[in-house]
Every structure is written in structure tokens, then in C-alpha cells.
Amino acid sequence: MLRVTISFIAGLLFGLGLVIGGMANPAKVQNFLDVFGTFDPSLAFVMGGALVVTFFGYRFAFRHPSPLSGEPFHLPTATELEPRLIIGPALFGVGWGLSGFCPGPAITSLSLMATGTLVFVAAMLAGIGLARFTLQKHAPKRLEARGGKV
């Protein structure tokens, strides 16, 4: 119960951070990516603020032998650089630039009900399902090693 409650609170805070930081607006994200046009550097400040808090907060969290809910830490174990780390992010970056949406802001925007958001999220979920299927076929060990988490 604690685990699910914390997950909900973390999701709510994450969404509020996106909204307050202006990242629920795809126009603002695309303007960050438009250095030679209507440039708006705000996204760098969102990432900077998030990174500083997470960097120090993680160090505090990792001082504990295990998470406070009693669960083990679920951390990625892979360390090698592989083609997947170029191909995936390259495809993602193109979609991000075209729409101004990455997964967090797209899901947060669902309750604002723009038709473009609904179409984007439906297609994104299809893409996620397709990637899960592809990974299960070609790299099933990776899925198992991470407890089913990609």
C-alpha cells in the first residue's frame, strides 16, 4: 500500500513539476529545440533543476541498504554501449522535435484533452508495445534481467 501511495504522489509531483516548469506546452519544448528561431531556453532550467535535486537526493537514497518500502533497488545493470542506445534515442528525438512531446508531458497533457495529444498518446502506446515485442524477440535476457522492466 505504501509503495502504491508513494508511486501516486511521485506521479502527481512529477506532473505538477512539468506544468509549473512550462513543459506541458509542446510549443515551449519545440522553441527550446529551435536555437536559430524562436529560442526559449526554459527546458534547460527544468532539466538543470531536476538534475541537481536528483543527483544529491539519489546519494541520500543510496546510503540506505534498501528502499524504505522494503523492496529491493531496481536499477539498470547494463553498462556496455550498444547500437540500441543510438537507434532508439535518434528515433525518439525525431518524434520529439516533430511534436514537442516526450512521454511525461504527453501523458500529463491527457487531462487537457487536445485531440493532437490523444492521437499522439495512442500512437505512442502502440510504439511502446511494438518495442516491447521487438526486445522480447531479440533481447529476451535483457527483459528478464531487469524484472520485466525495459
Binding site: 511521485a10 509531483l13 512529477f14 505538477l16 538534475l51 537526493g57 534515442p89 516533430l98
Partner: protein, 145 residues
């Protein structure tokens, strides 16, 4: 011509810090990375050890956030979303497939991974940033002009 958005360094830093707080809470209590694409992927099979209930609760919180914000501030959340449905469908497919195939998105690689000083996340973040900058440059300055 693209819509101009005001530069909001203070609100964006505060928003970012709140995102960081969410990521730390999730790690400190549940031992999980706050990567949205990874959390979404956990809504799909296989479910073994994936804490689907936690993933669903996180997503519910994300969706409710704009409603809570509007109630608390009395202001609607302003956004401009493209109405080009073909473009949004193609972009959604690319974002969904690319983030899960590449093991993370802006939050999983760009925030949590970089905070763990992961070399893999650094590579992924540089690649999706460069691809994003290049895409907007091509669409707005090479095709549109």
C-alpha cells in the same frame, strides 16, 4: 511563423526541482527510476516483478496533475498542440518505439540516468537532443522557409 513562448527561468527551475523531488521519493521509498517510458512499458506484458499497480498509480498522478494545478492556482494550463493528426501519429510512434527500444526518455536517461552518472544515459541524452535540434531545424528552417 512559430509561436513565441516567454523564457521562464525561475518557474522552470522550480518545476525542475519538483520533478527531481518526485524522482528522489520514488527511489528512496520504492527503489525505482522515475523514467516515464519505462513506467509506461510496465503497463505491457510481461508483468513478472514489474509492479504494475505502482506504475498505474504513478500514471494516474501524472494525469491528475494539471487538474490539481488549475484548482490550486485558479488558472488553466495553457498549451499549443499541433492539430496535424498524421504528424502527431507518426511522432507518437517514433517516441513510443524509440524511448523503449533505447531504454529511456528525457526523464529516465536525461534526469535519473545522468544523476547516476551513467555513460549509457549520457550517450542516449546527447543523441535524442541532437536529433531533436536537427528535426526542428529541418522542419522550421529548411522546409518551412
Amino acid at each position: 511563423m512559430a509561436e513565441v513562448t516567454p523564457f521562464t527561468p525561475i518557474a522552470s527551475t522550480i518545476g525542475g526541482a519538483i520533478i527531481g523531488l518526485a524522482a528522489v521519493l520514488l527511489m528512496l521509498f520504492n527503489g525505482r527510476i522515475a523514467g516515464i517510458s519505462g513506467i509506461l512499458a510496465r503497463l505491457f506484458p510481461p508483468y513478472a516483478g514489474s509492479d504494475m499497480a505502482g506504475a498505474a498509480a504513478f500514471i494516474a498522478g501524472l494525469i491528475l496533475a494539471p487538474i490539481c494545478y488549475s484548482i490550486a492556482s485558479g488558472a488553466p494550463v495553457a498549451q499549443t498542440v499541433s492539430s496535424n493528426m498524421v504528424l502527431m501519429a507518426v511522432a507518437g510512434l517514433l517516441v513510443g518505439f524509440g524511448t523503449v527500444y533505447g531504454g529511456g526518455c528525457t526523464s529516465g536517461h536525461g534526469v535519473c540516468g545522468l544523476a547516476r552518472l551513467s555513460r549509457r544515459s549520457l550517450v542516449a541524452t546527447v543523441v535524442f537532443m541532437v536529433a531533436g535540434f536537427a528535426t526542428v531545424f529541418i522542419v522550421r528552417h529548411l522546409i518551412a522557409d
